[in-house]
Structures are given as structure tokens and as C-alpha cells.
């Protein structure tokens, strides 16, 4: 089911007004009407956050308003996560997070939850995860997959360093990467490494999960 333009506009206006309850109501209505999780992510939450970024760019909203909106979106994601089937139905484990110095965690949180929705045990480490800490945690949980997010192109060297470090300890494990930084470039850099998959959105992520082969 598509999300109507009217519903999207009301959601965006509520976000900008900091009206958390109205945002929840809109999301819950769609959820109860069996709108898919991925539709909510892509057509409502992600679309709204991109628009919020555009509004900052043209000086229509402040950084404070942007942070307020991000906070509401994150709480909605946490709420949606509780609605997912919570018991993993496979032995697959994914470890996800943002590269060092990267603080934009909404996208990778969505990706992490898409894996959870599909029966994976998902370990989401959030923003700015030091590579050393990621590796130490990975040694404990032994994931089948890593998911790393990059929003700011300037952090591409940090992502490369993280990939190299992961490869030195887990040479065979596949790594998926994604994030806004790849909208204009960075693909060639990633292609230098084997066993790396670039995923552009949650739809593509679900397709990847369905065909995932260890």
C-alpha cells in the first residue's frame, strides 16, 4: 500500500513541529493498515529525513529542528522494532554499525532491523564505533555478516580502514556497506575489496537477505 502525499506531508509537518505523538499516530495507522515496514522506512521516514536535510541546506530550519526530527525518527524506529517478530528463526547473526567518526545512525538502524525482520539475530552497535571495539565484539558473537554505514564522504578512509581490519581477522566474512555517501561516489574504492556488497536501500537489503548464501 502506498503512503499518500497527504499523509507524508502531515508526518513531515509533525516532525518539524516536534509533535512526537502525531508522528507515532501516523506511523501506527499505516502499520495497522498492514503497510509494509520497508514502505514505512523508505516512503515515510527516509523521505522525511532527506527533506529535513534539504530544508537545513536552504536555511528553512535550524540544526536544533534537525536534531529534534532525528530524535523522533529514532524513537519511532525503536517502537517499530518492538513490533517485529523477536525470536530469530535462523542461526545467522549480523553485526552492524557506523564507521568511526560517523554519527548518522538512522539508516544503519533500519538496515539492522530489516535483518531482524527476516529472522536474523541483529547486533546494532550504533554510531561512531571504534574499529577495535567492533572487532572485539565480533570475536565474541562470531557474525555471519557485517553491515557498515557511511553517510559523510570524508569518512571513506575510515571505512576502508575498518574493512581492512575486519578482513585481517575475518578474511572470509561478507561485508555489506551503504549510506548517503555513496549517492555520488565511493563505489570504485569499495570495489577494490573482495566480498563487499553495496546496498542502496532497504528494498535491496531484503532482496540480498533472501538470496544470502554463506
Amino acid at each position: 500500500m502506498n503512503i499518500s502525499q497527504e499523509s507524508y506531508k502531515l508526518f513531515l509537518a509533525s516532525l518539524l513541529a516536534g509533535d512526537r505523538q502525531q508522528c507515532y499516530n501516523i506511523v501506527n495507522t499505516h502499520w495497522e493498515n498492514e503497510n509494509s515496514l520497508l514502505n514505512l522506512y523508505e516512503e515515510l521516514l527516509k523521505k522525511a529525513m532527506y527533506e529535513i536535510g534539504n530544508l537545513w541546506e536552504v536555511n528553512q530550519i535550524s540544526v536544533a529542528a534537525e536534531h529534534l526530527a532525528s530524535g523522533i525518527i529514532e524513537s519511532i524506529l525503536n517502537d517499530l522494532q518492538t513490533k517485529l517478530k523477536n525470536s530469530p528463526n535462523s542461526n545467522n547473526r549480523i553485526l552492524s554499525g557506523c564507521v568511526e567518526n560517523e554519527y548518522h545512525q538512522i539508516g544503519i538502524k533500519m538496515i539492522s532491523d530489516v535483518f531482524e525482520k527476516n529472522g536474523w539475530k541483529s547486533y546494532f552497535l550504533g554510531a561512531n564505533i571504534p574499529t577495535k571495539e567492533l572487532l572485539q565484539f565480533a570475536k565474541i558473537i562470531q557474525p555471519q555478516l557485517f553491515a557498515l554505514s557511511l553517510s559523510i564522504y570524508s569518512h571513506l578512509p575510515d571505512l576502508e580502514e575498518m574493512i581492512i581490519q575486519i578482513r585481517s581477522v575475518f578474511p572470509q566474512i561478507k561485508i555489506v556497506v551503504g549510506g548517503q555517501a555513496f549517492r555520488h561516489g565511493g563505489v570504485k574504492t569499495i570495489e577494490k575489496y573482495e566480498n563487499i556488497v553495496l546496498l542502496k536501500d532497504t528494498y535491496q537489503t531484503e532482496e540480498f537477505i533472501k538470496t544470502f548464501d554463506l
Binding site: E57, N59, L156, H184
Partner: protein, 143 residues
């Protein structure tokens, strides 16, 4: 000049060698401090960057350093052009005057010349010369 033509010119920029990138990376704090100091000393700074924008200006300089370092490590002409257009648009929308880019890039050129070795300056200056030479194009494309 349109965006594609500008990307074509960016593809011709000499990319710095690893020695120069390492030196630029090692000296980021010094370079940033010198650049900020030089910009803050400008007369009529408020007219150049807009009122109450010093923090935003300093953030831009930090972001500039991080971005240039990243682009020198993984050169991508499209990313370079798209990012500069975005930066011009976003900062001008927040009160920075078009003249800011002229002052700022001139200051970058001076600061890296004063702080880097002759070899590293020679390696890194082409990207700064290219940005400086294309201020007018970026100003038009960011509108």
C-alpha cells in the same frame, strides 16, 4: 561552464602523492589553526560570512580539511564537484557571501604554502588552484 564540463576539468587535476597526503594529514591541526586565525582577522568579517557565523565557518574549515584529505586518498572528480556545489549552496543560504570563497580559498593556498614542505605544496596546490580558479563556476552552479 556546466557541471559535466567542470567534472572533466577536475579529472585533469594532478593527484597528490602519498608523501604529501601524509604531511597534510599530520599537520591538519596547525593548518586549521592558521587558517581560522587568518580568516578571523579579516576586516568586515561579518559582511563576508554573515552575522554570528564564526562557529559555522570554523566547522566548514574542519569539514574542508577532512573532505580534501578523503578526496586526495580516493580521488573522484564527480564527488569533488558535487560536494563543492553543495557546500557553496548550503553556506550561502546560511548567510555567507559569495566573496567568502575567494577569501577562504586564497587563505588556504597561503596557509598550505607556509606550512607544508616545498614538495608537498607542489603536490597539493593543483587541487587548490583548480578550486580557486573555478569559484565563479561554482557560484553559478550552486544557484
Amino acid at each position: 561552464m556546466n557541471k559535466l564540463e567542470l567534472i572533466k576539468t577536475a579529472e585533469q587535476i594532478h593527484n597528490a602523492d602519498q608523501i604529501a597526503i601524509d604531511e597534510y594529514n599530520e599537520k591538519t591541526e596547525t593548518i586549521l589553526a592558521c587558517l581560522n586565525s587568518q580568516m578571523i582577522d579579516l576586516p568586515d568579517l561579518d559582511k563576508i560570512i554573515g552575522p554570528n557565523n564564526i562557529t559555522m565557518m570554523k566547522n566548514n574549515h574542519q569539514n574542508h580539511l577532512d573532505f580534501i584529505l578523503s578526496i586526495m586518498k580516493n580521488f573522484d572528480a564527480t564527488v569533488l564537484v558535487e560536494t563543492i556545489i553543495w557546500v557553496f549552496r548550503a553556506y550561502q543560504n546560511h548567510g555567507f557571501s559569495p566573496e567568502y570563497w575567494n577569501y577562504q580559498l586564497k587563505a588556504w593556498k597561503e596557509v598550505i604554502q607556509n606550512n607544508l614542505s616545498e614538495h608537498s605544496y607542489k603536490e597539493i596546490s593543483p587541487i587548490y588552484n583548480w578550486m580557486y580558479a573555478n569559484i565563479a563556476n561554482f557560484t553559478v552552479l550552486s544557484k
